[in-house]
């Protein structure tokens, strides 16, 4: 992951800096509910914890989303859809890996069906440790992400462009083929 050339990934123009201030305060979240962790999202979004006070709300389509939340274990089958979805999201986009399964495979480390490390396939800005993380941890992650965006540190989407070859090669290594074929859509 070293062919960054001369362009510094964390260099931003003044306008970008201003935009990042604004971006960090208004984000739509696509919660791709892959694993058990998704169950912590409804309490986070509803009145008890109230995600909207952070300016974050759920979004139904990747085309309009800023945050991509991967909530747990990822089967290779889902990973194909995740990559497809990630590439559909407009820049800037931020990925949060949620739960131990996205970090190192968690309790599914020996599964034939699930991957062990999310950031090998798509760039991850932030991980939340835990199995599963409670809403408090989710909020800590969101405030951290907002801070990172303001500082220009949440630049996974730039890394994806710059190291596109590396990511593609890893995706192919584990998936064989990234394109989705299935009998119900062909």
């Amino acid at each position: 992951m070293s062919n960054r050339g001369n362009v510094k990934i964390d260099e931003r123009t003044v306008w970008e800096k201003i935009a990042d201030q604004l971006r960090s305060r208004s984000m739509w979240m696509l919660h791709y509910c892959t694993g058990c962790g998704a169950v912590e999202l409804p309490p986070s979004m509803t009145s008890r914890f109230d995600l909207e006070r952070f300016g974050i709300g759920p979004m139904a389509t990747p085309r309009q989303a800023d945050i991509f939340l991967i909530t747990g274990y990822l089967s290779v089958k889902t990973l194909r859809r995740v990559i497809y979805t990630y590439e559909k999201m407009p820049d800037p986009k931020y990925v949060i890996g949620f739960g131990s399964c996205t970090i190192n495979g968690g309790i599914y480390y020996d599964s034939y069906a699930t991957i062990n490390r999310l950031d090998y396939y798509i760039p991850v800005d932030l991980y939340i440790a835990g199995c599963m993380p409670r809403p408090e941890a989710i909020f800590e992650a969101f405030t951290k992400l907002m801070e990172m965006i303001r500082k220009g540190e949440a630049n996974g989407w730039k890394r994806y462009k710059e190291n596109y070859e590396w990511y593609k090669q890893n995706q192919l290594r584990s998936l064989g083929e990234v394109i989705i074929h299935d009998e119900f859509h062909e």
Partner: protein
Amino acid sequence: MMSSTNNIGLEEILSSLNQLFEGVSTEKVDPRQYKIITPPEKTIPVLEFLKEKGYSHLSILTCIDWIAEKKFELVYILFNWGTGVTFVVSTYVNRDNPIFYTVKHIWPTAEYYERDVHEFFGVKFEGNENCEKPLILELWNDLPPLRKDFDPLEYSKKHYPDREYQKDAIHEARIIRGDVRGEIDG
């Protein structure tokens, strides 16, 4: 609650099973569950018979790998909505060349169970022309993964790279739990 007439019906079914089909053994698991072991050539007639007697719901068709006996056990679970009684009908097929016959003509939904059993155990169902179509796994190219001689950890290591850690956290956890003796540094 089970009425007494249903109990009589049950007794009748069990005794006629023994009379009509040679080599069939029945066993009471609990008042609402009976296990029926059938020779392969009797399985489908038994299933047809039970369907007629009210055991009309095929809850699942699944498989068990008895690797030491070199057999696959096919398990059909039938449920009676009127009495709440379950029949577990099972039969054994050869593990080396596992072929059985479809029950698609009795329960159309069996098509998917048979595809599932084919994908995860490699049992073929004659008469189900879609049986070899992939259902859940995509681009699978190894042993059927739920066979006992398939090693999921090895597969996972080969296909899905792990995160590398400075220290062996699992080993340390074993020391803390007292499974092995040793020193923890740091």
